[in-house]
Structures are given as structure tokens and as C-alpha cells.
Amino acid sequence: MAEAKKQTDKRGSSGRARLDGKRIVQIRIDSRPEALRLVRAVVGEAADLCGCSENCVRDIVIAVDEACQNVIRHAYGGRPNGEILVDIRREGDRIAFNIIDFADPVDVSKVKPRSLEELRPGGLGIHFISECMDDARFRTPPDGAGNRLWMVKRIE
């Protein structure tokens, strides 16, 4: 995943990172595994609403689910009382997904996929995200937030 290019992020007048595009929907959950299906349901419907094919919807759901899982397991270290905000926007012929948490800022250099040569359980999330999305990287989070993973997918 490309490292955050903080200097290039657009900011609103308050210095708050501005999210690009026209918002479709925003969902807020606690950092609990059982909330992931709420995210999958709304993300799948939103992608379908934007005109994505069945395969495109499937890939989007995979990537957003994995990103939220990583927030639960890594950013919040399994604590169930954190918040996760998933903001979905239309940017022309692409859909942008911002996964925002309120945990401590993450060392983005450590967020990388492992080689798939080695057969072992785990370590697939980042790989799934890069395969399923057209772009994904950490960007400046809004004020008060800890991290923002920005992912985009071309509607097809």
C-alpha cells in the first residue's frame, strides 16, 4: 500500500482533511466483529446502486470488510469499544471508500502484504485489498480521527 502523501491532501478551511466526491452513505459501527455484516450489507447495496457489476460489488465488499477487520484487530488491538466510520463517495466513474478510525496513528510502513508463496494461516487482508481495489492508501484523517484508509474502485 502506498504511504500517505500527507502534503497533497486537500484540506477544508479548518485544516480538516476534506473527503472528495459526492457522499453516497456513511456508516458508523463499534469495533466489533459482529458489526462487519452491517458494513457488508450497506457497502454491497451502495456499490450496486452505483451500477457496479456483481463481480465488482463482490470485490468491493471483500476489500471494505478486510479493511474494517484490520482496524478491529490491529488499530484497536481487539478492543470492542472503538468507533469505525465508513464513508462512501462517488468520484466520477469511481467509488471512494474512506475507512476512518479513532485509534492511535498507525505506522503505515508496517502495513504491507506478505508473500503468498509461504502457506500459512493469516496475512491475507492487505493482499485482498490491493487485488480488489484500484488504489488504496493511508491519507490524512479528519480532525479528531486516528487513521484514514482511502480506497477507490472504478465502477464496472
Binding site: 466483529p33 455484516r37 457488508r40 470488510d65 478486510e66 478491529i72 494461516p121 493469516g122 485482498f128
Partner: protein
């Protein structure tokens, strides 16, 4: 949100998974699969009604696969749903796991 049904058929433990295998439900799937593999019978996982599987679900399958290798037990999948197959392909596991297109095929070959 996942249902794991285990039945014995021709000396094979057939595990039928249905629903979403995700971060919430994969620990249960993992336990059931490792139990079955531990019993040293061949294990065949019917994945036709898996509506979703994530990386944690895939990890459970990998663990069961590795445990079966150690004990020289057969561990195979059958009739993998489209959405589960996409995830196995992403993980490059479609060439690692034994995958049967039908349950009958799996039963014939797993014993």
C-alpha cells in the same frame, strides 16, 4: 451467522458450511474443522452455501489443511460457491486445496 453441519457418510466427515464465514464466525468454523481432522477421518467441506468468506475464514481452512497434512488425513473442499471461489483465487489457494466440483466426486475420492 454461519451454520456448520457435520455428518458421517461412507466413513467421511462431511462438513456443510452455510452463511457468512467472517471474523465473527470463523473461530467456530476453525474449531469444527480441526475437531474433524483430529478424528483422523477424511474430511470433505461442502462449500455450496457459503455466502461470504473472508481472510479469517480462509485462515481456518489453511489451518485444517495443514493439520490434515501432518496426520496424513484427507482434507478437501467440494462445490465451492462462486463468492468463496473468488476469495480462494485471491489467496492463490485454488491450486493448493483439493477442490471437487461435486459432493459425489469428493466422496468418491476422499475415502
Amino acid at each position: 451467522m454461519v451454520n456448520c453441519e457435520v455428518r458421517e457418510q461412507d466413513g467421511i466427515a462431511v462438513v456443510a458450511l452455510s452463511g457468512d464465514v467472517d471474523l465473527e464466525s470463523s473461530p467456530r468454523v476453525r474449531d469444527v474443522l480441526l475437531d474433524c481432522v483430529g478424528a483422523k477421518r477424511p474430511v470433505l467441506v461442502d462449500m455450496s452455501r457459503v455466502t461470504y468468506i473472508d481472510s479469517s475464514g480462509v485462515a481456518s481452512l489453511v489451518e485444517a489443511h495443514q493439520s490434515a497434512r501432518k496426520t496424513k488425513t484427507t482434507f478437501a473442499l467440494a462445490q465451492v460457491s462462486q463468492s468463496a471461489m473468488r476469495v480462494l483465487e485471491l489467496a492463490r489457494l485454488d491450486k493448493v486445496f483439493i477442490i471437487h466440483s461435486s459432493l459425489a466426486d469428493g466422496l468418491r475420492n476422499a475415502g
